[in-house]
Amino acid sequence: MTGVELSALTKDYPGGVRAVDGLDLAVPDGAFFALLGPSGCGKTTLLRTIAGLETATSGTVRIGDRDVTRLPPGRRDVGMVFQDYALFPHMTVADNIAYPLRIKKTGKAERHAAAADVAASLGLSDLLERRPAELSGGQQQRVALARAMAARPTVFLLDEPLSNLDARLRLEARTFLKKLQHELGVTTLFVTHDQAEALAMADLIAVMEAGRIRQVGTPAEVFRRPANLFVASFIGSTPMNLVEARVADGLVEAAGARLRPPVRVEDGVPVVYGVRPEYLDYSAAPVDEAFHGRVVVVENLGTSSLVTLETEGGVLVHVVVPEDAEPAPGDEGWASPRPGRSLLYREGDLLTNDVAAAA
């Protein structure tokens, strides 16, 4: 049992900045867990507090069944990969990987054998005698991983593991990391500001804002059913359409369209209607229950296009249109939400059937 459990965790910096604000979080054993949020949301501070590089102002950190809140980082049994990798420039790859074992007073021969084993499993065997400066970015990252693995910690912590790689390598490393994590089965937390990275790699995602967690869920959950407007606008490569709306006669009136609500809502309540551009179907001919407007911009996304409709009230609605079906700017168009894919937010929070029924 080596999950990570945070309860009422708070981290204040001198000068009154509260980076982490009374945060509760349970990371299950063996999970590949993403801490996702915009810069300055406290995600890196949270990771560093778990590592012990920052000491919590209040609250507790538990790793497995141990309370490690007041333990120094070296005794928490965590392995960490830093954003800049922090490979010691004066040591060879082998010495870098063996460093955690050197601290644990493992014999020289033994620790080098162990380092060679780990290096082999990451395809680094030919690089053992090199210095970090002689390695490519991808190789450096794998050395940093190998060093974190060497002492067989119970938890891995990765700080922005992909941000120092160029775009092509990043995709490769994403696949590599996910495969490695599943093979090792060790609880792994990683920090990222890139929602696509989090969706692609993680089993579970915690979306953070201003030192608090706004939603925890599987990638599918946070993508399809963002629990609040913050998560809704943060997740997704093309931002979700979020349109101010009113409920009248059991229908949602948004940007001139009258749409069937996904949940039952009382009349007269101000809400926000949300639907992803990918979940809208474009039509050049009039259809019922659809946004109607004029095409102002068409952006090519490769296999599809992002079309921007300007409705009569001036609200912009984005629709993803499959290839070969793109309209031209100036065309008139309709965009209808797919059933079961639209969401309603009231006062910033997602309305679900239970809430709506209770209200």
Binding site: A51, G52, L53, P72, P73, G74, R75, V78, G79, M80, F82, Q83, D84, A86, F88, P89, H90, Y99, P100, R102, I103, K104, R147, A151
Partner: protein, 271 residues
């Protein structure tokens, strides 16, 4: 036309600069090898006799040894103390450290000259440090430390803290972190400050002149002024040869530094 004029002007300027800087040094290059050195530069009737005479002089070699002792002693103290202080100041935020550092820097550039020679002389007398190498070493260290700390702190500030954090996560104690990671990473900075200190002490005249009374203990910078012939004239053969011998170490050191680290300015002074 304009570019041609400009080129001629530049060439003239370069030649003048070269002449201005080379002229005084010609004597140093020729006189030591001259059998009968004059005060002006002349083509030498080549000889190494002057070096033999120098080696026989009881004070010459001893003074060079004294210079080495002073330079090495001061460099050791300055590098170790400045490294410890600079590291702590760089990594642990203490209130008011920047103001303090600038004040000390200012004070040191003022004081190390001549303004404080009276109290320094008196202080050394009180502490029984007159006529002792230790006294000169301590006085010089006190004067050089603020600048050394400033240079090294700049160097440490430029080194990412994640190296130390990595060591810490893997369980290294603060002192292990220092030994395994920090010292190797900032070694070029340590070398730079060490060599800077040696150069400062090697050429310093005032403090040893002030604090050392016994000619047996005087370093090369002071001993140079004692080379006179029996007729009371400066002994040019001895002085020129000694000057050359005395200059070679710093020149070699400069070549070494510029080869290995590049003799360029680091951040701090550029601000």
């Amino acid at each position: 036309m304009r570019t041609a004029l400009r080129r001629i002007a530049a060439t003239t300027f370069v030649s003048l600069v070269l002449a201005f800087f080379a002229l005084p040094m010609l004597w140093l290059a020729s006189a030591p090898f001259n059998a009968d050195p004059k005060i002006h530069v002349s083509l030498p009737s080549f000889t190494l006799e002057n070096f033999r005479v120098l080696l026989d002089d009881p004070y010459a070699l001893r003074s060079l040894r004294n210079s080495v002792v002073l330079a090495a002693g001061t460099a050791a103290i300055v590098v170790v103390f400045a490294a410890l202080a600079a590291y702590a100041l760089s990594r642990v935020r203490l209130p008011g450290r920047d103001v303090l550092l600038y004040l000390l820097l200012l004070l040191s550039s003022i004081i190390t000259g001549t303004a404080a020679m009276v109290p320094i002389f008196l202080l050394a007398t009180q502490l029984h440090l007159v006529d002792s190498h230790l006294g000169v070493v301590l006085v010089l260290s006190g004067g050089l430390l603020p600048t050394a700390i400033f240079l090294l702190k700049d160097f440490t500030d430029a080194t990412p803290a994640s190296y130390e954090e990595a060591a810490r996560v893997f369980g290294a104690s603060p002192l292990q972190t220092l030994r395994h990671v920090v010292v190797p990473v900032i070694r070029p900075g340590l070398a730079m400050v060490g060599i800077w200190t040696v150069a400062q002490v090697w050429g310093d005249f005032l403090m040893p002149f002030l604090l050392l009374r016994d000619p047996d203990k005087a370093p090369a910078s002071v001993i140079m002024y004692t080379f006179y012939t029996e007729g009371g004239q400066p002994d040019l053969a001895l002085i020129s040869t000694f000057s050359l011998l005395y200059s070679v170490p710093v020149v070699l050191m400069y070549l070494l530094v510029s080869r290995r680290y590049g003799f360029r300015f680091h951040g701090g002074i550029k601000r």
